[in-house]
């Protein structure tokens, strides 16, 4: 599992001072500052949106709350590169918004100022809009687990709701929120499509440039290594923040209950909660739909069932494999909470912040080597050459997904398994269960919701994954993301609308299921 990441770190053995001299004197400072700004900007944006949504939805029963509850997760189905394409189409000079401004006020092309969407700020805003669900999901679970008693105490002590939120609820939920923010930040660090399109030079574009332009795969791997260190620091910060709040939630007393609100207040809350989904999903979705219906060649639709099936199949196999492994890792850590095990888990999690292409190469190198050895072996002993059974098949893809998205699954399984009280394990041990029996009889049933939400998140992530899929897929094998990318990278945004909207549609189903799962978790605690 750790092999591909190891391959990347191994590159540090081949240090080329000349190229680093060149990089650090020209482009490296910009990569660092842009990547850091992007990650922290997205972390901040996603945290603010995700936290306020979770707090309001858990604590207030306003008009349309049920509708909002399942709407807020929809941006998960919207890949960042696609939202970037659509907003550019909407907001650039020739787009409908600026045209309207010009026509309304009869302005010339240079007479007014309009924010440039294709900028670092634009990237931060758009990524926050599609990544806030990571924070929201975890924050919502954390808030709804908080006992109703806390609020009653605050009320008795005459503490205002805002102050209660800031002084009591937020600190209690901080570990969960930090985990969500860390996921969003890693996702932002690994992004290539959006920053490349927006002309923002970050570590990922730097890696591509060094590798492809300079043809220096070593320096590119070393850059990836630095990116990993960056992420490692993030993970450490997140772990540290969780350390002093190690608590098994014992569910004494009722969980927080939503307060009924009416009238203007209710309308205001509805509006506030519908903002993120409006800009993170509805607006781009409508734009995609318009493009699809006005310009797409409907005859090309006949190939889409095949692409959709391929996408769904990869995502399906991938999420089962990834979640199973994540469960085993988390369980191993519980059985044997040693430094080695948790160190290994952290190492494997690093893949989440690595750009897909880097992982693809990290996967290809060892698998290709294994394949060659395997073929030599079978050739020598059985006189057959099975071919590239590892690197040339779906196996390589699933392997890459496992590395890329393990962190998403682990976050869910670890958080879930930590909530199970150790006394459960002890009881089972006393009754003479083996550790395997215990896993199936105690942990899996108790973890059902966490496992399901892990599976759904991984499913949607794989569905959207592009660079690794592009490089590693077998012959004549197309997915929706590949199709959308091919058209969009040809600068044919409008033609890319059809596959894009299909990705979003296929992704909506698991997102709805996810909403139901979260509802289930909440009801259990209620």
């Amino acid at each position: 599992m750790g092999l591909p990441i190891f391959v990347i770190f191994a590159s540090f053995l081949f240090w080329d001072a000349a190229i680093w001299q060149h990089l650090s004197s020209t482009v490296l400072p910009r990569y660092i500052s842009n990547s850091a700004t992007l990650a922290f900007g997205v972390g901040f944006g996603a945290t603010v949106i995700g936290t306020y949504l979770a707090w309001l939805i858990v604590n207030y029963d306003f008009y349309g709350r049920r509708l909002i509850q399942w709407l807020v997760l929809l941006p998960l189905a919207m890949p960042a590169y696609i939202i970037a394409y659509t907003y550019t189409g909407l907001l650039d000079f020739a787009g409908p918004v600026q045209t309207l401004v010009r026509d309304t006020f009869t302005l010339g092309s240079q007479d007014y100022w309009f924010p440039e969407i294709r900028s670092l700020t634009g990237a931060i805003v758009l990524m926050s809009l599609v990544l806030y669900p990571y924070v929201y999901i975890l924050a919502r679970t954390a808030f709804s687990e908080q006992s109703q008693k806390y609020r009653e105490v605050s009320e008795l002590a005459g503490v205002s709701p805002l102050k209660h939120f800031l002084k009591v609820a937020l600190p209690l939920a901080r570990p969960a929120i930090m985990t969500g923010a860390a996921l969003a930040m890693m996702e932002a660090l690994a992004d290539f499509g959006t920053v490349e399109y927006f002309g923002v030079s970050t570590f990922t574009t730097g890696i591509y440039r060094t590798w492809f332009g300079l043809g220096d795969i070593n320096a590119a791997s070393q850059l990836s290594g630095f990116l990993c260190l960056f992420v490692f620091i993030l993970i450490m910060i997140e772990k540290l923040s969780r350390r002093d709040s190690q608590n098994y939630s014992s569910r004494q007393g009722k969980s927080a209950q939503a307060k009924k609100v009416r009238g203007m207040q209710s309308a205001f809350l509805f509006l506030l909660c519908s903002l993120p989904v409006t800009f993170g999903f509805i607006v781009p979705f409508v734009q995609l739909a318009i493009w699809t219906f006005s310009f797409s060649d409907i005859s090309s639709l006949e190939d889409y069932p095949e692409y959709a099936i391929n996408s769904a199949m990869l995502a399906g196999i991938g999420c089962v494999v990834v979640v199973t492994m994540a469960l085993l890792f988390s369980y191993a850590k519980r059985l044997q909470p040693s430094k080695t095990v948790s160190g290994f888990i952290q190492f494997v999690s690093l893949g989440y912040a690595m750009p897909g292409t880097v992982i693809a190469i990290g996967v290809l190198v060892p698998l290709g080597w294994l394949d060659i050895k395997l073929n030599m072996f079978t050739n020598a002993y059985f006189d057959v050459q099975p071919g590239l059974v590892l690197s040339g098949t779906i196996f390589a893809l699933i392997f890459a997904y496992a590395i890329r998205f393990m962190s998403v699954a682990l976050n869910n399984t670890e958080a879930g398994i930590q909530r199970i009280k150790p006394s459960m394990d002890e009881a089972s041990k006393v009754l003479g269960d083996s550790s395997m029996q215990r896993l199936f009889r105690i942990h899996i049933p108790l973890l059902k919701a966490s496992l399901l939400s892990a599976a759904l998140l991984v499913f949607v992530d794989i569905l959207k994954e592009l660079p690794a899929t592009l490089v590693l897929r077998p012959f004549n094998f197309n997915t929706l993301a590949v199709k959308a990318f091919e058209l969009a990278s040809d600068e044919r945004l409008i033609d890319a609308a059809l596959p894009s909207i299909t990705i979003v549609l296929v992704g909506i189903l698991p997102v709805i299921l996810l909403t139901k799962t979260l509802d289930g978790i909440e009801r259990k605690y209620a």
């Binding site: 002309g199 060659i372 099975p386 012959f475 197309n478 409008i494």
Partner: protein
């Protein structure tokens, strides 16, 4: 454990498949998008009965894949949209000689590898494009002249991440030398109207929007916009015209899309047949009409849009050399502050 079980399973599946797949076929690794290669491949299959298997992807990723697959690589043919990648593939030793007189007869020497490892399939030009209403074409002359003070804040071009820019600078290093090219790049950057962003089409749109007055872009992007389904896009494109620079001297920069045979190709005859097919009049016309690229073969009719852009003198510097200085070009652009 899981790894072992699944590899045994896949091994089993493959042993079934490999016995049955004896029929003629050819495996293509293509950096050209499916939409711009599949129709030709389909025609080839129809005509010869040879089945074509295709994967598309970034050229460098495909090259890495061939490399790591080593002697067992199923790749027979590698198609690239840029000369730099073909040269790199050759340098990495993953291609082989395609000694075919048909190629020699049909493709001009500067568009082929001297050791016959690769050949061009189509030609792409990267001239200056200007706003018809704001720029007098008489004020334009050479690429060198774009560093003049009068173009301050008026030039749009995409990022130096882009391979077309890298090859353009590389070509300039070949014709003008490194020092002069660096000075030119610095001067050009000083005249940029904005930080480079977006693709070639975006530069053309920025010219129409008034953000800049001239852009440097590949002709097929403008041609594609001129033939777009959407009327607004066609109207945008009509406000821009092409100027061919350096016509008195070295000629305008050109790049190619091209093809190589992989070193460990198992279907050698089919691969050779495919390359010949792509150089037939029929295939050359298809590219000229569908994607508005220039045919490499003499005497093939250009699309109407390309004809309207006018004939030009192309830079005939050896494309192998252009490919070889790609890394140098990139570092030079870094030093010039070209984002």
């Amino acid at each position: 454990m899981i790894l072992r079980i699944s590899s045994v399973f896949v091994l089993f599946l493959l042993s079934i498949f490999s016995v049955n797949s004896i029929a003629a076929e050819v495996n293509v690794y293509s950096a050209r998008k499916e939409a711009l290669i599949k129709p030709i491949l389909d025609d080839f299959s129809k005509e010869t009965g040879i089945k074509v298997n295709l994967i598309t992807g970034g050229a460098d990723a495909l090259i890495s894949r061939i490399q790591s697959e080593g002697q067992f690589s199923p790749a027979d043919v590698l198609i690239s949209t840029d000369v730099g990648r073909l040269v790199r593939a050759k340098q990495l030793g993953i291609t082989q000689v395609n000694a075919d007189d048909f190629v020699v007869e049909n493709v001009p020497a500067y568009l082929r590898d001297e050791d016959q490892h690769w050949t061009a399939l189509t030609l792409r030009a990267r001239p200056i494009m200007y706003a018809k209403d704001r720029v007098n074409p008489e004020s334009l002359s050479t690429m060198q002249a774009l560093t003049d003070e009068k173009w301050k804040n008026r030039i749009c071009i995409r990022s130096s991440n882009n391979i077309y820019n890298q090859s353009m600078i590389s070509g300039m290093i070949q014709t003008q030398g490194e020092a002069k090219t660096l000075a030119w790049a610095k001067g050009l950057v000083a005249n940029f109207a904005r930080t480079p962003k977006g693709g070639d089409r975006d530069q053309i749109k920025a010219v129409v929007a008034g953000e800049c007055d001239i852009a440097i872009a590949n002709t097929y992007y403008l041609a594609g916009m001129l033939n777009d389904e959407e009327e607004a896009t066609r109207k945008t494109a009509q406000q821009v015209a092409v100027f061919w620079p350096d016509q008195e001297t070295i000629g305008a920069h050109v790049n190619i899309s091209g093809v190589s045979i992989a070193k460990h190709a198992k279907n050698l005859d089919a691969a050779k047949a495919l390359i010949r097919f792509m150089l037939t009049d029929e295939a050359q016309v298809w590219y000229a009409e569908t994607n508005h690229e220039y045919p490499v073969k003499e005497g093939i009719k250009w699309s109407q849009t390309l004809q309207d852009m006018g004939t030009f003198k192309a830079q005939d510097v050896s494309l192998s050399k252009v490919g070889e200085t790609n890394a140098k070009a990139l570092m030079l652009m870094d030093s010039a502050g070209w984002r």
